[in-house]
Amino acid sequence: MQEDKILFYAGSANEIIEELEKIKPGDQGRINATPENVDSGLAKLVLTLIELIRKLMEKQAMRRIDGDSLTEEQIENLGETLMKLENKMDELKKIFNLTDKDLNLNLGPLGDLL
């Protein structure tokens, strides 16, 4: 950013710069599929969508806990299901050499996907 455009700042300049750098447009958070890497590009896209659905399931589960609408048995089942899902996702990420950061697509003005 041009320095003459900064009219006022207070706090830690380093932290502000660090955060603004994160939102600068760049390649990070995009799916860079090319003919050479189409397999890993596709894997990234598919795993990103699965991760999004998994996170939504988690959120829905938390809402149900908040709503106090689950029985003891349902709670046990829910815990087991979510834990297994997370473990399975970890396995898949390892297989395709992807990290959580890789699965967080930048949607521009809409912010990050996850």
Partner: protein, 249 residues
């Protein structure tokens, strides 16, 4: 030959000195600008002299710099990098077909400037405060999650994270609603961007009268006093990119 568009102005307002200004800008920037007018609108353009196979950051910055210089002097509809047409007739056509929309937005942004206001969690505050709330969250666990089974322990951890996130969102919404009330005293034109990293509490763009710059600075000073634990940055003036969006005909 492709023609690059930089800005659109209201000819009725800027008629007197725009030609002289553009002549000076051409001299300073070494780019030959031209003015194309129709329907009391004027487009600032230049002919693209070399074919580009790839976009360079320098080109984008040069383009943005030109738009910024024009915006500092005149009320404009700023174009985005890549606003290229193939003939003068295309520009005239664009001005003719969208004259009403262009004039409406130009009236809205006339004598105004865009600023960006960001309030961010300091890293220290973000970690310390929400970790404290984490231990508070542990105290209020629903009865159904009490128990030693692995499944319940897993859900308990997720639930605690969920509570912290809810508290964060509530905290941010609370600050945002207070800031909106105060900003509305300065301008009605406020846009909030969705927070793009967890550190963002407020990421807003505002369009204010040029004469209200002092008021805005005073407001930001007060904001810092109210929230000394957070980082705040105000930048601008910028061309009114966020308040000049038009669906082209």
């Amino acid at each position: 030959m492709p023609i690059i568009m930089y800005a659109i102005l209201d000819t009725r307002v800027n008629n007197e000195d725009i030609s002289h200004f553009i002549e000076h800008l051409s001299f300073e920037s070494n780019i030959q600008f031209e003015l194309i007018s129709s329907h009391e609108l004027t487009a600032v353009v230049s002919i693209q002299t070399e074919s580009k196979s790839a976009i360079s950051q320098a080109d984008v910055l040069t383009y943005a710099g030109i738009v910024d210089i024009i915006a500092q002097k005149h009320s404009i509809l700023p174009m985005r990098y890549g606003s290229v047409v193939s003939s003068y007739a295309d520009i005239t056509n664009l001005l003719d077909k969208n004259a009403e929309s262009f004039h409406r937005v130009l009236k809205k942004i006339s004598n105004k400037e865009e600023y960006s206001l960001r309030l961010l969690f300091s890293h220290q505050h973000q970690d310390a405060d929400f970790n404290k709330e984490s231990s508070d969250a542990t105290q209020s666990v629903p009865d159904i999650l009490q128990g030693k089974s692995e499944n319940k322990q897993y859900l308990l951890k997720k639930y605690q994270k969920h509570i912290i996130e809810e508290q964060r969102i509530q905290y941010i919404e609370n600050i945002q609603s207070k800031v909106i009330i105060d900003l509305k005293k300065i301008t009605e034109y406020i846009e909030f961007n969705k927070k793009v990293t967890p550190a963002f509490i407020i990421d807003a763009v505002i369009l204010i009268e040029k004469s209200a710059k002092g008021e805005l600075l005073a407001f930001v000073g007060q904001l810092k006093s109210k929230y000394p634990e957070h980082n705040v940055i105000l930048t601008g003036p910028w061309p009114p990119y966020n308040f000049a969006q038009i669906k082209l005909e």
